[in-house]
Symmetry: C2
Subunit: 185 residues, 2 copies
């Protein structure tokens, strides 16, 4: 149940409403954890009734009021406990890999368009990450004072960058493989 913890981390980084959290899950946090607004509202409600988060009604002008959530003591404790217990290395799920192996029983070359589409999605994400890195972490290598929040966010972002680069290279490999079947038909 790491959605709870992902929300707690996000609220520790910056308190916000369910709506704002949902937007973050489309961006920064969402790079390694996805969630819809439904899930988020439900979890926030549960965490509120468990005393993990505090709520504050924030009137706004020009837009509807919002409920701003922030992490309370018990929520912090729950997060800390989770951080100190081991978790299983994640299990991966790649629809595309299923498709690639399945293509052997259909028309391999027909997959080329789909793989190209995915490649484009990954190059887009990579560019997005790199732009974010240039914007938020400009002092590359300049070892200033240790800011845990910044340094660790940067480390996670570097992971995202490495992942996208790996995927692009692999999809090129797959495309080269598929091309051999195209020449064949």
């Amino acid at each position: 149940m790491a959605l709870d913890h992902a929300i707690l981390v996000s609220l520790l980084e910056k308190p916000g409403s369910g709506y704002e959290l949902a937007r973050r899950f489309e961006r920064s946090i969402g790079y390694f954890w996805t969630a819809t607004h439904q899930q988020i509202y439900r979890v926030l409600k549960r965490m509120e009734s468990d005393g993990w988060v505090d709520v504050r009604d924030v009137p706004q002008q020009g837009r509807p009021d919002k409920k701003e959530y922030s992490v309370a003591g018990p929520g912090r404790d729950a997060l800390s406990a989770w951080l100190h217990e081991p978790i299983e290395p994640e299990s991966v799920r790649h629809d595309l890999a299923v498709k690639i192996r399945g293509a052997a029983f259909d028309d391999p070359a027909a997959l080329i368009g789909e793989v190209r589409r995915h490649r484009r999605a990954h190059t887009d994400r990579l560019e997005h990450y790199l732009a974010g890195e240039a914007r938020d972490f400009p002092e590359a290598g300049g070892d200033g004072p240790l800011d845990a929040e910044r340094e660790l966010q940067h480390a996670v972002l570097r992971g995202g960058i490495a992942y996208e680069r790996m995927m692009i290279a692999w999809l090129d490999d797959v495309l080269a493989t598929l091309a051999r079947f195209e020449a064949d038909r």
Copy 2:
């Protein structure tokens, strides 16, 4: 609902029982798609009643009888239809990334052990993949006759290998980052 399709692909590669499928999902298929035996039995039952797969009772000596499933026409059609429709690039879920960002609000250096554990899991998997590659795809580069099933399985395996190598390098990066906080406390 790609579990259906993952099972169909696996049965096309080789017919088998629910139990055998569950074992494959711990190994080859499981590298990019996980499933427990419960899920598998449930899906097989549904696909059987939908006519996607055929069943055959296979008596065995020395062990309990089994039901061997194989893909029927409608199942093949369903797979083919899925192969030809676009899918969304997968959404990733990395508990460990949540932990790393969360560690900023706890004790970063306390994560070192956990990250090392994950690194070990990934080096183990990498070695396992490489052994499988050496065993099943020895003729590296030797462009023999085009066998779609083999070539595409190999391409997917290369993806797994690239993924593990990327993860190991990134976890080393994370460990170096965390080490700076250890020196600090």
